[in-house]
Symmetry: C2
Subunit: 451 residues, 2 copies
């Protein structure tokens, strides 16, 4: 618990004891949601109810709740009754309200939606029904859209009247049928003469996204054009929502984290603080699948058990073959998974990069193979073994490069997440290919030389 949350809680509790609500409201107005949320779990039930009421009045309740870690939020939501939850949703931005409803079980969500004004409830329901992972699930349906024929003075009047509590920075211009036709910054409105029409000062070339665009695509647009928000239009180019940069920031962070954790076979919800039981359940399936594929490698080695019986030193160098193949494969794999995420490579354009990986694999095979010859030769004087390792290394690193590139490309083409299962396939290829080439070459060698 951070010391600031603790002292903040003491202030809040003291003010509550004295029923000093105006002062409390002032503090709430001045404090950012991320700083209020750690205090909620510290409060007594009664106190929390009062604070929630004040947060609803301030229009901050959903934001504050959504700043909490998922597990804590779930616990807290069970303590809050349905009418309060409905009031929270009614007082908040629609994307936040939808996120909060999403955190409830299906049954409770339904009951809370029933308590909301029908129009508002329907809007939230359509947001919730919107395909997960699309711009529609990310957008806010409150935005200021003004008729393009308005004058600047009228537009500023409309901004004054607009009840939205959080800040916004762009005003969108629409035609009489609701089509998005322009965008204006508040600054351009301040600068313009009051009698000009919006059409004459707005930027017409508005970067936009459609409601069914993938979240990653929205993030890509916002990041590419350095936008603070991007308008979302339906298929008829009618403005239906706005995605803001803070939501995009979350998507980008989640996405890069997802790739990192998926590549390692860890659940995306896992944190250092996850309980041992949960971690076990999250990690076991991946390890079990790896165990099964590792038996494929064992099966290959078993084919050569006779060779190993004659030449036990082969077992000594098996870890080199497996380790180098795995590492080289992971290097290529990671570059391709990242390239796929950033849209820098696809299946059709994959031939050239795969050819390049083959070259890099060959180069690294020769370079590391040479090192291996020197080390093994000087260490054990088994020069035959050293040269078998040399050729096995080249072969294995070529497999690593080609499989490391092809596997994610193919998985992506088949609509699987390449980050999730690529490494299992690639290590299987390098293990099987590596042991096969190493022990196969050794078996051939034994026919002609007798060490």
């Amino acid at each position: 618990m951070s010391p600031s949350a603790r002292s903040y809680q003491q202030v809040v509790t003291k003010l509550l004891r004295h029923s000093a609500f105006p002062q409390l409201r002032k503090i709430i107005d001045k404090t950012l949601p991320a700083d209020i949320s750690p205090v909620l779990p510290l409060l007594l039930d009664e106190d929390r109810k009062r604070i929630l009421t004040l947060l609803i009045e301030a229009g901050k309740a959903a934001r504050v709740l959504l700043e909490m870690p998922d597990a804590e939020l779930r616990d807290l939501l069970q303590e809050i009754d349905d009418p309060t939850l409905a009031a929270i949703c009614g007082s908040s931005a629609s994307d936040d309200a939808a996120d909060l409803l999403d955190a409830l079980g299906e049954e409770r969500r339904h009951m809370v939606l029933e308590l909301l004004a029908p129009a508002h409830g329907a809007k939230l329901e359509s947001l919730l029904a919107g395909e997960e992972e699309t711009a529609g699930s990310l957008m806010n349906t409150e935005f200021l859209a003004l008729d393009e024929e308005l004058t600047v003075a009228k537009a500023i009047e409309a901004i004054r009247q607009y009840p939205r509590k959080d800040s916004f920075f762009y005003v969108y211009a629409i035609d009489s049928e609701g089509h998005l036709v322009g965008v204006l910054s508040l600054r351009s409105l301040i600068l313009a003469g009051p009698n000009l029409k919006l059409t004459s000062i707005m930027v017409q070339n508005v970067v936009r996204t459609t409601v069914d665009a993938e979240r990653e695509e929205v993030a890509h647009i916002v990041s590419k054009y350095d936008l603070l928000s991007v308008p979302v239009v339906d298929l008829q180019n009618r403005l239906v929502g706005v995605v803001t940069v803070d939501d995009v920031l979350d998507v980008i962070q989640e996405q890069a984290e997802e790739d990192l954790l998926h590549l390692a076979g860890v659940d995306t919800s896992e944190r250092v603080s996850t309980s041992a039981g949960e971690s076990f359940r999250g990690r076991f399936p991946w390890l079990a699948v790896n165990l099964l594929t590792a038996f494929l490698a064992s099966w290959v080695v078993r084919m050569f058990q006779g060779t190993i019986e004659k030449w036990a030193a082969l077992a000594v160098f098996m870890p080199i073959v497996a380790g180098m193949g795995g590492n080289a494969g992971t290097q290529t794999l990671t570059v391709f998974v990242r390239g796929l995420a950033l849209g820098e490579v696809d299946f059709k354009g994959g031939l050239r990069p795969i050819w390049k990986e083959l070259l890099v694999g060959f180069g690294n095979g020769v370079a590391n193979g040479t090192l291996t010859v020197l080390i093994v030769g000087l260490w054990t004087s088994e020069w035959l073994m050293a040269f078998i390792l040399f050729f096995a290394m080249i072969f294995n690193l070529i497999i690593a490069g080609v499989a490391g590139g092809l596997v994610p490309l193919i998985l992506k083409e088949l609509d699987f997440d390449p980050a999730i299962s690529s490494s299992i396939f690639v290590t299987t290829f390098t293990d099987v290919g590596g042991f096969f080439s190493f022990l196969g070459l050794a078996t051939l060698a034994l026919r002609y030389w007798h060490p």
Copy 2:
């Protein structure tokens, strides 16, 4: 090459042929930097010079250039003469100008700085000298700071006069000594009565960062509080710059990517499109270090070569031991590297999580060990081998958990990047520990049973 860049280039070239500069300027004003930059490499030298002049006039030149991939930018910068570069820097936001100067060699940078107005050159030099990786290197030194005693009407007048070309969204209030005392959104200025003083409407509780704060910390603040920009103050709390959310987006993206690539032993500059030679040079050192550590595993196996000579089936199951240890270690490692990056764990608070990893390792050891016993027993009927694998698996997955957590914690405490070298150390621990326990148990077993 995207078709849109190609057709854009045709339009631009045609307008240049007809010297239709006003039309060109209009197009440039309407087009976003990220869409202009792919066109530059397609133009003839002469044409590019004219377009650059227009971009300088529009204040967009540095932004457009910085949207180019690093390698292309370096090539293009060699084609542009020093006075043009100075004009570009002079017409651009200071953070962009500094980034551009950063891309030049030291000698050329010096020559370009000489050509700039002394005050401007000195400011850019101080930005360049600012410690890499801090808020100081990320911030923009152009911002609108107004005296807190001004009235709203005067403030709006000041905004009208402010020459900055790109948009901004907050106005900062300072006292007579330049200390940051408040922040106002443009919207709050529009809403307020013209005769109110800024002090009465500004938000006093400004989230800020210091000039020497790490980039990651700045990103964390912006993301935590959903800010569009964060003011940067010096140690005396004087406002010296502003970091905007688009720069933070880049930091977050780079940082997560860095961890991902570092964990795999790949250079952060590597892309799918990197040339074979460059990829080879970038990846070889990591593979060579891995090769050396793999020999440690070989050395352990060699200690037990006599046992393997008597019982060659041991070699068949060595890949299982190594593979499972490596995978379990990578799982833990990734969770800890991510936790360190997000500030969720540190060396002092690491004891509990390590204890948890030990438990998870034990659990996964028992679970996967049981699977292994069944598979090996039913497949080969070598039940003694199966039970040796069972205990070796438990031992190895405990090592994987403890090393996977401890190694990144220790590396971070010693001020190394835990993402870079953790996996080498962890795999060495799991390989050495795994083979030692597996072959050691087998050697003991051979003393009492004779398979």
